[in-house]
């Protein structure tokens, strides 16, 4: 019981909540930037999913990065954090659902349009699982953090956690992409 109480204390501590919400804000902001810098490409990737009618495509390809930016901004302030967390969870699950449908329909997309562009990321089941994991992490942001005055030391913890979470995100992406290329290469 005691370890559960400690875990709960950590998960609802402002340091943890701040670090997770800042990391998500960075994730959504970079995703939106990546889409805004090459809108025509994102439009064609979105069209490749074949889930949105052609007429709505030109609106959707602007709406999605705009929503991502809004979620990222709202995650940065404590007052709007919980609403933003709901938005983040919906977006993550929406992407997971879209990728799952495209895998089910046997469409092999060369790029899911979700990475930062550095790595070509094909749509695979690993990405669906990854998004579900992120959505679960974002659920933690729905709980109000415990009230505690933050000290200088806490800022180091927040900075370290944000850095680590971003790195883990990058590593997860690379490993999923590697798994796909190795499967292609060795036919297993």
């Amino acid at each position: 019981m005691k370890s559960n109480a400690i875990l709960l204390a950590i998960l609802t501590d402002p340091v943890f909540v701040m670090a997770v919400s800042f990391s998500f804000a960075m994730l959504f902001l970079s995703a939106a930037c990546h889409k805004f810098t090459d809108l025509p490409k994102f439009r064609s990737v979105l069209g490749g999913y074949d889930l949105i009618p052609e007429k709505l495509l030109s609106m959707a390809h602007l709406l999605i990065p705009a929503l991502e930016t809004a979620v990222a901004m709202a995650l940065l302030t404590a007052g709007t954090r919980q609403v933003a967390a709901l938005g983040a969870i919906s977006l993550l699950l929406l992407y997971a659902f879209a990728m799952l449908l495209s895998i089910r329909n046997g469409r092999t997309l060369q790029d899911c349009g979700c990475s930062l562009g550095a790595v070509k990321q094909p749509v695979v089941v690993g990405l669906v699982v990854r998004n579900m994991g992120y959505a679960m992490l974002a659920v933690l942001l729905l709980v109000s953090p415990s009230a505690r005055a933050l000290e200088g030391m806490d800022l180091i913890s927040v900075a370290g956690l944000v850095l680590m979470l971003s790195l883990f995100y990058a590593i997860a992406n690379v490993l999923i992409a590697n798994q796909h290329t190795s499967r292609e290469l060795f036919h297993d």
């Binding site: 680590m164 790195l167 883990f168």
Partner: protein
């Protein structure tokens, strides 16, 4: 005490971040390596021979005795791997063990024919030195001219019906296997297979 904890905490963060950067770099390197070792296959050079066309017909004496028929319907419905080499080409020598193993393992459907040109005595010495007595060995400029072989070692795979299936410059075992693999998959070259599967 607080200072000690503070310092140990900061040092821990630095090392954790550093280690994660290393893990990221290693994972990325694996990805880059996957890209690098993608099979490229033998490079087809000749403009005269095209995959899918009938191979020119020859009946020529072998330096190892008997005569060799190239092109047309093969009597034992065996395919032919025509391998162009030269006693003076170092890469050719490194491929001889590979050719022997291909000859041993694929003997049911494939016969390996070596082809070269030049002084007969040099070729006889080459055969003795590398124990190539089991291969039909052609010493003929005509065959090389017919296929316009400019670079060695070069392989041409001819089907049992006398049709050129695939051909290419062979520099290693993988290139040689790519000719056979291209035949198994029904493509003229591994590059063509990549092109077909890329979309």
């Amino acid at each position: 005490m607080i200072d000690t904890l503070l310092i140990s905490n900061i040092v821990s963060w630095i090392f954790m971040v550093g280690l994660s950067v290393v893990v990221f770099a290693l994972a990325r390197q694996i990805g880059v390596m996957h890209e690098r070792i993608k099979p490229v296959g033998a490079l087809s050079l000749g403009k005269v021979i095209k995959a899918g066309e009938a191979a020119p017909q020859f009946t020529l004496p072998s330096l190892n005795g008997g005569s060799v028929v190239l092109g047309g319907h093969a009597p034992l419905s065996q395919s032919t791997l025509l391998f162009f080499l030269s006693p003076t080409c170092p890469v050719c020598k490194t491929l001889l063990p590979v050719l022997k193993s291909v000859q041993d393992h694929e003997t049911g459907w494939l016969r390996v024919v070596l082809a070269s040109d030049g002084k007969e005595a040099e070729h006889m010495a080459f055969i003795r030195e590398h124990r190539l007595e089991d291969f039909p060995y052609l010493n003929s400029t005509e065959v090389g001219m017919a296929y316009q072989i400019a670079k060695l070692p070069y392989g041409v795979l001819i089907s049992s019906e006398g049709v050129v299936v695939s051909h290419g410059l062979i520099n290693n075992r993988e290139h040689l296997e790519s000719l056979i693999e291209a035949k198994m998959l029904g493509f003229a070259s591994v590059q063509e297979l990549h092109r077909a599967t890329a979309h």
